[in-house]
Structure formats: C-alpha cells, structure tokens
C-alpha cells in the first residue's frame, strides 16, 4: 500500500525535527524593517498634515483650535501599519517601530497625540512636499477633524472664521 512513499514521507518528517518556537515564553525577534506601530516624534513634526492626507485608514486627525496651535491625533484603532505616513513625511518624524504586540483592551493605549506650535500660518500647506502628483494635499487651510470624539470630519477653512469652509467630500464619520 504505497509503503515506500510512506517511508519517504516519514523520512521527510523525521529529518526536520521539532520546529515549534517557544513564543511567547521567549520573545521573537523581527527584522529591522518590520512595519510595527508607528511612533510620532513631536520634536521633528512640522504639522503639515501630509500623513493625515495619505493615511488609507483615515486614522490621523488634524484640528486647529487657534492660529498658533495644531493638534495631530493618531488614533491607531484601524491602523493597518502600511507605513504610508512614514513614507510621505517630509521631516521623517514618523518611524515604523518593530512593536507588534499591540493588543490591549483599552483603546486609548494605542493613540498618540501631538500638540504643535505653528509659527507660520497653516493656510497654504506649502510645508508638505508631496512625493508625486497623486499625493497632493486634499485640503489646505485650517483643519477641523474632531479629535475629542475621534471623528474624521475632513473639512477645512481658509480662515478661522468668516470664510466658507472648503470641502472635498461631505463626510461625517464616527
């Protein structure tokens, strides 16, 4: 009954020995360019919102409470660790770390919030250097996502009050 082939299969098995790794008893190393949790560096960030513009999961919110301050909030809930934010950041302020053990039952643990002092006005968006024509900033001006309720509103205005808001898409998402 195909004895020889069974023997060959048995040899394949026995030659391999045991290959199970003792994770999580012992940690498991990942390669250096592993795309784990992104880490935002507030010291390098210039508040251009290029990352928010290019996040496919729309997990980065931007909100301008006043002319001098911009709040950037990385929610991290649906982050797919694609690394687009790190790729387009003109100041290399975002690094994809090697942390992959990100499971938590407190959703706020994975969020990062940056408060940035904007010394130039955020009206034109020229500080974001887009890598190609397909990554142009969709919205220029003061941004009004809703970081308190963690809602991506995707609306901006040229001036803080008075002017009509400029909309790309009419979306209110929760």
């Amino acid at each position: 009954m195909s004895f020889v082939s069974k023997l060959k299969e048995a040899i394949v098995c026995l030659r391999a020995g045991r290959v199970t790794l003792p994770y999580p008893a012992r940690p498991r190393e990942v390669p250096p360019n592993f795309r784990g949790r992104p880490i935002f560096d507030a010291a390098k960030c210039i508040g251009c919102a290029g990352c928010a513009n290019n996040c496919p999961a729309r997990e980065i919110l931007v909100y301008d409470p006043c002319q001098e301050i911009r709040i950037l909030k990385y929610l991290g809930r649906r982050c797919t660790y694609c690394g687009r934010c790190a790729e387009v950041c003109p100041e290399k302020a975002i690094t994809m770390s090697t942390e992959y053990e990100n499971a938590t039952d407190v959703i706020g643990d994975v969020g990062q919030r940056l408060e940035l002092f904007m010394s130039t006005c955020q009206r034109c968006g020229r500080c974001f250097k887009e890598p190609s024509a397909l990554e142009q900033l969709k919205l220029k001006g003061y941004r009004f996502d809703d970081p308190e309720n963690e809602r991506w509103v995707f609306r901006s205005r040229a001036y803080l009050e008075g002017e009509k808001p400029v909309d790309d898409i009419q979306i209110e998402m929760d």
Binding site: K8, V30, P56, C82, L134
Partner: protein, 558 residues
C-alpha cells in the same frame, strides 16, 4: 497588429452596430456597440472567434455621459489581446439583452450588475439576488452615483430569507457552511444528497461584503487603494494590488521603471510559492492527512520570513503605488532569498517525490471533482483548475505584464481534470516559480523603483489588467476619474469564475468528496465577495441564534 485583425473581423460581420473602437495598443481593444447587437457580438466573439470570457461590468456613467455603461470583457489568449465590448444604455431604462445564453460564464456577473447598478439583463435564466443581502429593499442600487457609500436603507427587512430552489426528487438537503470546519470562510452550499451521492447544489454566498469598490470611487484616492486592494484576499493580496496599479498605469499610459517591474515579478512569485504550499497542506488536511499539512507549512515558513524581511510584513506587503514599488531588494537580500529558494527546492523535491507515488492520497483524489474541457470553456474556469483539465492558459505568458516577458518558464498542463491533476499542477508550479525568481534576481537592472508622476492622471480613460494569481486570472477594470480617484473599479477574482463550476464538479460524486472538490479550486471567498457593502452596523446584522443554528443543522427536517 492582432488587434486590428480582430477588429476588422468584427467590423465585417457587425459593421453597422459598431459605434466606435479604441485601439490604445499594448494588447488592449475597446469596442463600443449598439445595445441591441450586444448578444450577437458577444456570442460571435465567444463561440466563433474562440475568445475566453473574463467578466461583465456594469457602471453608472450618468454624471459624465448621461448613460449607463456595460462592458463585457473577453480575452484572446493566443493573440495576447484583452478586449472590452462596451455598450451605453439610456438613463431612463438601463436594460439590455443577457448574454448568459450564449456565454454561460456570464451568469453571475450579470446578476451582480443587476443587484448593484440596477441594469436589467433581459432573458437571464436565473435572475435571483446574488450579492445584496436578502432583506435589502428593491430599487436601492449601491453602486449608482446617487447612493452614498454610507447609505443605510430605511426599510431593510432583517427577517426576510433567501428563497432556495426545491431539491430534486428523493434527495435530502445537507447544508454545507457557512459554519464548517474545513472552509474557514462564509459560504453556503446547499447540497442535495441521495444516500451518499450528491445530486446537485445551490450556492448562496457574498456574506462578507466590504464595500471595496464603492469606497474606491467615493472616499479613497489612487495611492490609498493599493493598500485596500491587498486586503481583498488573505493570501493573494500582492496580486490584487499589482493588478490594480497596472490597470491604472494601463489607463493613464504610465511607464514603470524596469527595476520596479522586476521587483513586482519577484514578489508575485514569492506569493505564488507560499500560496501553493499552503494549498497542498490544506488539501492533505481535508483528506485527513495532517502530517503532510504540518510539513507543508513547515517548509513554507522560511518564505514568510523572507517576505517579512523584504517588505516588513509576512503577507500584506504594501508593495505597490501607482508608478512603481515601495520596497527594493538589495544584494544582501537577494543572496538571502537565493539561499531560501535553494533549501525550499530541495525539501519540496523530496515531498513531491514521496507524494507522487503515494497511492493512499491518490485513492482519495483521482476521479474526484472532475471538470471537463467543455466546462472550462463554458464557465470560464481559470488557473490551475483549467490547466489541470488541459486548457493551456496562463496570463503570465498570454498577456505579459511586469517582467514576465523577459524570463523563461513553462506552463504546467495536465489532462485528467480531477483533484489529483490539480495537486500535481500546483506542486510543479512551485518549481517554475523558483526558476522565475532566480532569473529575475540575475536579470534585475539598476535604477529607480518609482516613476516621477508630475501631473494628475488624465480623466475618463479605461484600463484593463490581467494578472495570474495563484488561483487563476485576477482581472481589474479601472476608469480614471476626477479628484484623484477612479470613477469605476471592478475587481474580478479567479474564484468568482471557478465557483460557478462547482455544481457541475460535484454532481454525482460522493458526499465525502465534496470538501476536497471544493478545496481543489482553492476557493478564496474574500476575493469573491469583495463587492459592495453599505454600512450594516446599525442593527441590520443577522445574528445567528442557537435556534437558527439548530434549524440550519437540521436542514430539510425543519
């Protein structure tokens, strides 16, 4: 050249009905015909000109041309030509003749555009719901431009159930799925079983819609979409992202740097390796041979590690952007890849040797799930399933893309059309993939990996792209649009066509063979179901209570 000849032939026969023809070059042809002649033209292309059916697409073009668009795509494999037969329908009455009489493979695609765009295929034999959930109200067609992507229909009837056909005489109904230990994916096959023999089946699937195509048209932008496309499938993610960017590049006539093409080829073949190894293991698990399942996965693991080293993730490579790739393969990485391939080839050779003469496995897989050559043609089966039945089709050779025209490889074809042949085809394709990767590593030129895109992409252009996924041909259709996103994106996964062949493959076979026959097409339901969803968060989700499960398990006994 070939395109002109084919076009000439069509013009000769259907001169008056052809409104316009576009020959953008590069193996693509678009022919716009009068809706009244669509059945005749498609029938002629499919039957008399020997083309292979690919997909039918419905699109709401009203904001731009005031009409609805229907495209039937065919492939002339020998002539290396992909052809779209288009037809514009008036906005007041979007209906046209169904082609499923002459092209049986179009059955699902027509039901799909009937559900989602509201274009009525007149004369379709089986106009039941395919994609939309059972309680969805009539008249709300998600892919129309006036329906927003987060529209929740007011009168969704959560209690309405799908009306299955009656089973044939003397048959018991055995429900297969959506909860089943073998198929980890949600699909429902309603088997009509007589003793231990299956007499027929009905399929109800599309339970895992995610709204990918609508999101791409409404919310995402060109370079966001590859990140979503690679999540269409849990195994062939790279394939879908490559196919999408190739379709956009085809539409916008973008040239990709050579090095990027080689990187895409290598990663596609790496994906084929891990997919085929996984499948062989799974097939053995289905027939109860867990040892080979474990060994296949053990042999496959180094590939996952090497993919993680190159791209940063084991499966979702995040590889493509429009115009290039994001990761490069340096010389150190190339050396490591070569080492992994050498070890893999040696181990896989010993497994193939052992399995080829193993009569125990052959007893379970020979003569099971047979797909005849006629079925391959009629239903449009693709991939190893088709090649195992003698059809010599492979997109890498027939519609070359990336760097496949610069490497040599053989297309593995078998004759018998049963599960054993598919096993043999897939096992041997592993060696061909290794060969391709080695050639790519040698021939890869230097240079940039992304092309510079200075301007926004032109609007309203159509692009087609066919890529040989591990399961068959993945085909994407893109119409470029405004606001940095496409107007229409249609994904046709290989399992979409292959699933339509299942009822014929399992007819008059043993019940025990149902799983292996289904497993042999390597079904990827997440690829198949990628279509429309509208946010069903707000309580319109069907929760299966214990009572429901009991009823389902008791099947026809009430």
């Amino acid at each position: 050249m070939e395109a002109r000849t084919k076009l000439g032939e069509l013009k000769e026969k259907f001169g008056g009905s052809i409104r316009r023809a576009d020959l953008p070059g590069g193996g693509r042809m678009f022919v716009v015909v009068d809706p009244r002649a669509i059945k005749a033209v498609c029938g002629h292309i499919f039957r008399d000109m020997g083309a292979r059916y690919v997909i039918s697409i419905g699109a709401d073009d009203r904001p731009f041309s005031g009409e609805y668009l229907v495209a039937h795509n065919f492939a002339f494999d020998r002539a290396k030509l992909l052809c779209g037969v288009l037809s514009y329908l008036p906005a007041e009455r979007p209906a046209l003749d169904s082609i499923s009489d002459v092209v049986p493979a179009a059955s699902w695609a027509e039901r799909e555009f009937r559900d989602l765009v509201g274009i009525e295929p007149i004369g379709h034999r089986y106009p039941k719901r395919l994609v939309l959930p059972d309680g969805w109200p009539e008249g709300v067609h998600p892919l129309r431009k006036d329906v927003s992507w987060d529209h929740v229909p007011a009168n969704f009837d959560g209690e309405l159930e799908f009306k299955f056909d009656d089973p044939p005489e003397g048959c018991v109904v055995v429900p297969f799925g959506p909860f089943h230990p073998t198929l980890d994916e949600p699909a429902h096959f309603r088997l009509y079983v007589d003793g231990e023999v299956v007499r027929g089946c009905e399929y109800r699937g599309f339970m895992a819609h995610r709204g990918i195509e609508k999101l791409a048209e409404s919310v995402l932008s060109y370079n966001d979409i590859p990140m979503m496309a690679e999540r269409i499938c849990g195994i062939c993610g790279c394939v879908h992202s490559v196919t999408y960017v190739q379709a956009v590049e085809n539409a916008a006539a973008l040239r990709v740097p050579e090095r990027a093409e080689f990187v895409r080829t290598i990663m596609l073949e790496v994906e084929r390796l891990h997919s085929h190894l996984l499948w062989v293991g799974l097939a053995c698990h289905i027939v109860g041979f867990d040892t080979l399942f474990m060994q296949s996965f053990r042999i496959r693991e180094p590939i996952m590690w090497v993919a993680e080293k190159i791209t940063g993730n084991r499966k979702t490579y995040g590889l493509c952007v429009v115009g290039g790739v994001r990761w490069d393969i340096g010389s150190e990485m190339a050396a490591e890849l070569r080492g992994v391939l050498d070890k893999l080839e040696e181990e896989w050779r010993s497994v193939v040797d052992a399995v080829s003469s193993d009569r125990n496995i052959q007893k379970r897989t020979r003569g099971v799930g047979v797909a005849s050559a006629q079925l391959v043609k009629d239903v449009g089966l693709v991939g190893p399933v088709a090649r195992a039945s003698g059809a010599d089709i492979d997109c890498r050779r027939d519609h070359p893309y990336a760097a496949y025209d610069r490497v040599d490889f053989d297309v593995i074809v078998a004759r018998d059309g049963d599960v054993w042949s598919r096993l043999v085809v897939r096992m041997n394709e592993v060696f061909e993939s290794i060969r391709i990767i080695r050639q790519c590593l040698e021939k890869m030129p230097g240079g940039p990996i992304q092309s510079q895109i200075e301007d926004e992409l032109p609007v309203g252009r159509m692009g087609l792209s066919s890529v040989e996924a591990p399961r068959g041909e993945a085909h994407h259709f893109v119409v470029t649009g405004e606001n940095n996103r496409p107007r229409r994106w249609r994904v046709r996964a290989p399992t979409y066509q292959n699933l339509q062949g299942i009822p014929s493959m399992i007819k008059d076979q043993q019940l025990a063979d149902m799983t292996i026959a289904l497993g042999s097409i390597d079904p990827c339901f997440s690829c198949t179901d990628r279509m429309e969803t509208i946010d069903v968060r707000s309580g319109h989700r069907r929760i299966w209570s214990g009572e429901d499960l009991r009823r389902l398990a008791l099947g026809g006994r009430g």
